[in-house]
Chain length 195, copies 2
Amino acid sequence: MADADDSTTLDPVTPEMPATTWAVLGILSFGSALSGYDIKRWAEQSLAFFYWAPSQSQIYGELRRLEQLDLAVSRVEQTHAAKSRRVYEITEAGRRSIRTWADVIEPDPVVLKHSHILRVWAAHNGDLDRLCAQLEAYRATALERAAAAAAHALGAEREEAWRFSGIALEWSERFYHDEAERIGWLIGRLREQQR
Amino acid sequence: MADADDSTTLDPVTPEMPATTWAVLGILSFGSALSGYDIKRWAEQSLAFFYWAPSQSQIYGELRRLEQLDLAVSRVEQTHAAKSRRVYEITEAGRRSIRTWADVIEPDPVVLKHSHILRVWAAHNGDLDRLCAQLEAYRATALERAAAAAAHALGAEREEAWRFSGIALEWSERFYHDEAERIGWLIGRLREQQR
DNA sequence: GGGAGCATGTAACGGGTTACATGATTGG
DNA sequence: CCAATCATGTAACCCGTTACATGCTCCC
């Protein structure tokens, strides 16, 4: 509100926080009031494809942190007679912070820990057939993930607010699809060594 | 030695260890006697492309752990008058353990933490042009990594012992090449949203 | 002489996980 | 009524990092 739509209005006092915290704030930045439980599920259906899925217990901690920094506010919703849940919403300060994050904070280096390629790298210690079978199984899961990402992407693109998260999911679909193809190539490459 | 070449001779008492420890043992499994310092550089030139590069300080800890478990032995090499270095070698027990690891221990789930896609996912909070510029820069580094992996792969494939690690590096080259292409696609996709 | 690389470690910290504890609601 | 799911948290633990400390050797 109050004349703030200039993109140079970047918050000068955005705290240094781990990417995890930004990710949780990012989920809130879509606008809904969400409980820790909701956030966990959102994370599993989008973040998990290209980032990671935080554990339940951590999310509650992050939410408390965000509230302490005034980047989010919470209130208790009475859902039933003897049952309640605490929902969180992003604040104006939170919006300013996340804009600073998006525009001026350097992205962390991309982390890839590919345990299957680690296995290939050390394949002289084990049995090649067993390794290829493991790779084949992994290839199948990659294809499943591609399909899951595609399904979620369709859901996201329907709503204007989820446009970009939909694009991230399209990227994920391509990623897992390419991954499956690369594993196919790898299996062929290993078999040709075997002869 | 002594009649052990049957692949069913799997060590029944292989300890549960984090993948990092296996990776260090894996480096030793190539046969050379190496110092912590050597291992760090090996890791940077191969492991780092598809797994990760452990910090200096951690490697020394892992080596001590391996020696305590009798999976490796160390001796002090006198390199100069007043200078020495401790080199580690894999033991027979270490070979048995790593074979068990390679063949029967389930690979950890693949970890991907893609900070740039996280940015895309939350792009409604920031400036699209800035984001595309960041992506373009990342695309360039991906291409550089592809080239670096290719160079190391060439070096590895010359020696018989490094055959599989060479294949892992070929995989890495493809990975970073595909990654660059996907980022190219992504930039196009974002630009088309912009209009 | 001085800087880059070789070489080995310690201490403190923190991010993130698993396991555990608790209890209400919903649906078969 | 029992299992699954909703819902929120605490405690312990450990992997891995950064920062720091130390000192040698090689080469310009």
